[in-house]
Subunit: 594 residues, 2 copies
């Protein structure tokens, strides 16, 4: 059995049939060279690399884990070599500016490649993934000199990067962070403090690691308005980019954790480490936020990745495992029992995974177009795309990771008792997935961002472009059998937003009390829209005639499943989200247990 | 921080206020000595042992795991010593017949003790737990001689037992099993074959292990009607109960699995091992089924155990962790931030765990009374209890483990990123819990048992005593504010059963298509009943006057939470369960992916 097979046909459908990416790229000046042929060739190569090099290291990497020794971290067998192949093939430079050695390809394509690499081996892909985040920050906020010294080597992949935000006493609440930055006479800073949960914070895959660190200047105001951003390289670097000597940053330990064992989660001790300010003093958190949406999309992807992986594994098992007879009569009368895929409940579990994997991919690919437009579109279009993305991102991040985890668990469930055993890989998929609902802002934090900071703060304005898009689709496709249910859900979305907004005027805790249910409902409706789009497109292709009937019919049947079995989840959510804050707040903190 | 604190006040409420256990035990001849004082003393001792001896070994046991060496299995440090203390205190004999050295205490008490021990350390408690299952089988089906030789030593705890059912190619579908039993001239049998997933199948805690093994006689009919049950001791034993020599059963390996690392999951190779028939030839599966309900209750408990453990850990963290301010204004203005328990979404996660842990405990304690009545009641009462238990058991097993897993995950979620780190124990709680939805019959199998084999096969008769009980409660308590919602849900339960029954007459696959949703709905309504009962009782106590107002008010507030935020889940389930088999069966097996 192959560990992983990239779902190329499905990606092709999304990009070139559903979302018309060819025309999209043509319309954006920086991406006009990105034709369908170019994109498909790149995707195909990435699929080969991921299937042949990364996927075979996924299970061994989990088993072996990272090893910490005297401040050094050793990645599992094969990881270093895979990374070497990766940089030799030029993958790290894909989406970065040609000015610094990049290939200038669109972010949407990068997101797609991340899905492929990440599904094959999430732990491995976090090393270049974190580096990508650091590069984006440097690109947006670094000086020309900083970019030349650091960015060029990161784009080539010779060096990697990290993001150092969290401290032991603050994750969500970064305003409390304590790491200090003291100015030196030469214009640099001395950084001191301890950061935790630094993914890829130390490893043996690259000769230098460029840490992007949040810290406080001596005169900084308290809270989030006193945080600045610094470059702190593991090895100090000369102006010509040569490594000089070791800087005062050390990996104190790595965490023992539930999953992503092959990615080093580091405690980093900064002891008068030399650092360089990026952007303006005390504006560090703002600088971080500029690329927060794209970073969160990278985590949203993880939901899709584990749903896809769980689906592939459990589908193969369900077709082969013989156990019991179908209730409606034997389907494999020659064999000792029927393959378990005949059982309706096994199909329910498989279709749920399929609907979330493919539906989540549509959502990500939709967001990819927005990111491209922000990066390369005209000002008005970019602004519009940015607003839409700001609204959709917390939904994508929290919803896709929640349903990704559900999917990973259903994938495991299809294996029966064997699912609990390491050798099948289904349980690793669950463990690796579990972090996605926690890092880059928990589900609860995304839900507050969506409902509080975005929807209600804008009095609903921020959601209108998207709900209007759904409304227009419904109007234009009234004959589609899924449309009445979608239109009703979309309408209900608006009404419930109003209702919660009214309640929140009396009591701000109503926002928190409704938030997660609201976010999940938003996700189900959003995916409902994409499934209706897909079914609509598939029907049009079938009507026009195609040699791939089964593929398009499968899209329609999966959409039907989604509307019959998944979208009705909003019924319960619509009730619970407006049940009020009182049922949560009535109990005194000390009366939760006796 | 204590690793675990037994919820004694809650147990007291269930037993002696809600379910009137004192009167219940008094009414059953074998249990008349089990007074409230006796029971509370035993429970208190068990809590001490579990808190002080078992709980401290839970995390270290997970980390160290079991070690296999040349067919021997070594349990983690401290396990053997804890077991020694356990047998010295006489715990294994608690519920067993005085004829064989037991103390003859009621099973309901045993279930309660299992919850306490199992929450403290599920992996450890599986060793005596499996032994208990083997003892029950021997007691029900063994000959007098077999009981004298084997049971006595198991009741004392000197020996342990296992249940050997599963083979690599069959778990659910035991009709396919291949292990052979050839008769010997001396009346014994030679057992050959390989069993997998044998929990506690080999270990270093007891001097002998008595395997109860399913195998086929040479002339056995195919399928489930050709399976017989055998005793196969690890060491052969003389008629006087002395160990003679090693039998032909060996542990080939232990599984690497997601959790319960400290419990050995063994591959057992039987190579002409000497075995002894239990009960009649070819009736082995029936013999197993006689105690299946109680064995499944033991697994249902696991859902409660992990919900309780997750709740205790996350409640403590939520009270201490300072992060962000309450949206409705600071609640801890002197501190740098508010404790996260002020945030409504954190409370939602805590209350969900609390509602499932306490609600699940009520369900188990309710079932405990039924088990006692089956074991020690008069014939008619026993039969009635048996039918009720047969109906409730698949609900308890599947529903409580599903919501137990949800709870364990919510517990972990309360910790934010720290939840993913091993040292807090929240992720172990998730991993350990995950098996409960798989073994002893998956959720899907329980759902078919409930809806297909029980409810529809009896044309709904089997559910009536329970739904009638709810109906009577509603009638008698019309003033209780929760009753209208409960009565409506109970009515809907009946209607949906009819509706599915009608559909199933046309197409048997409608049963499988509805089954899991039906089971989960049944669970939510069942727990709704118990929460209404609890609120009702608490209100009565408050009305009468009490010095423990906060305790009883917490019961009412948690019930209100359950009715507002959890019970509405049946709205979605009521829609999806009758959405038909077609949305699951329409897609051809080969068209699930392209």
């Amino acid at each position: 059995m192959a560990e992983y097979k990239a779902p190329l046909r499905d990606m092709q459908f999304n990009l070139f049939e559903l979302f018309d990416y060819e025309q999209h790229w043509q319309s954006l000046p920086p991406y006009q060279d990105c034709s369908r042929d170019v994109a498909e060739a790149i995707i195909g190569e990435c699929a080969k690399f991921s299937e042949n090099v990364l996927a075979p290291l996924n299970q061994s990497g989990d088993k072996e884990g990272c090893r910490w020794e005297d401040g050094q971290v050793f990645t599992p067998k094969g990881f270093k070599e895979a990374y070497q192949q990766y940089i030799e093939a030029g993958w790290p430079s894909m989406e970065h500016s040609p000015e610094y050695g990049g290939q200038g390809l669109p972010s949407s394509l990068g997101l797609l490649l991340s899905e492929i690499k990440g599904t094959a081996n999430w732990s491995w892909n976090m090393y270049p993934g974190l580096s990508h985040g650091a590069m984006k920050t440097l690109m947006a906020h670094g000086t020309e000199e900083q970019k030349e010294i650091y960015l060029t080597k990161m784009v080539s992949g010779e060096w990697t990067g990290t993001m150092c935000l969290t401290e032991a006493h603050c994750g969500t609440d970064l305003g409390m962070l304590r790491t200090k930055a003291e100015p030196n006479a030469d214009g640099s800073y001395s950084i001191s403090g301890t950061k935790i949960f630094i993914s890829a914070g130390e490893h043996d895959m690259a000769e230098n690691i460029i840490h992007i660190v949040l810290a406080r200047l001596p005169d900084a105001p308290a809270g989030t308005k006193g945080i600045s951003l610094f470059i702190v390289p593991k090895f100090n670097v000369s102006d010509s980019g040569d490594i000089i000597d070791r800087n005062g940053v050390n990996c104190g330990s790595i965490e023992h954790k539930m999953g992503i064992h092959a990615n080093a989660t580091c405690v980093l001790n900064f002891d008068n480490a030399k650092g360089y300010l990026i952007g303006e003093p005390n504006k560090g958190l703002n600088a971080m936020f500029t690329f927060m949406n794209t970073a969160r999309l990278g985590t949203a992807l993880q939901g899709v990745a584990h749903a896809e992986m769980g689906f592939q594994k459990s589908l193969e098992y369900a077709r082969e495992r013989l156990q019991m007879r179908s209730l409606s009569g034997p389907k494999n009368p020659e064999g000792p029992a029927d393959p378990i895929i005949v059982h309706p409940n096994v199909r329910r579990m498989l279709l749920t995974q399929k609907a979330f994997a493919e539906g989540g991919r549509m959502l990500i690919n939709y967001c990819g177009k927005l990111v491209d437009t922000i990066d390369g579109g005209e000002e008005d279009a970019a602004k519009e795309a940015d607003q839409k993305l700001a609204f959709i991102t917390p939904i994508a991040k929290a919803f896709l990771t929640e349903v990704g985890f559900e999917s990973a668990n259903l994938g495991m469930q299809c294996f029966g008792g064997h699912g609990y055993i390491a050798e099948w890989g289904a349980e690793q998929n669950v463990r690796d997935c579990r972090i996605s609902m926690l890092y880059e802002g928990t589900t609860g934090i995304q839900a507050l961002d969506l409902l509080g900071r975005k929807v209600l703060m804008s009095q609903g304005e921020v959601m209108k472009p998207f709900t209007k898009e759904i409304h227009v689709f419904c109007k234009e496709n009234e004959d589609n059998p899924l449309v009445p249910q979608l239109a009703a859900a979309n309408k209900r979305w608006g009404e419930l937003t109003m209702e919660i907004g009214m309640k929140a005027m009396d009591n701000k805790d109503e926002v928190g009390a409704a938030s997660v249910d609201y976010l999940m409902m938003s996700g189900y409706i959003t995916l409902g829209y994409f499934w209706a789009l897909a079914a609509n497109k598939a029907q049009a292709v079938l009507d026009a005639g195609t040699g791939e009937e089964a593929f398009y019919e499968a899209k329609i049947k999966t959409a039907n499943f989604y509307f019959a079995r998944i979208l009705p989840r909003i019924e319960t959510l619509a009730t619970t989200m407006v049940s009020g804050a009182d049922n949560l707040l009535a109990l005194d903190s000390e009366d939760f247990s006796f």
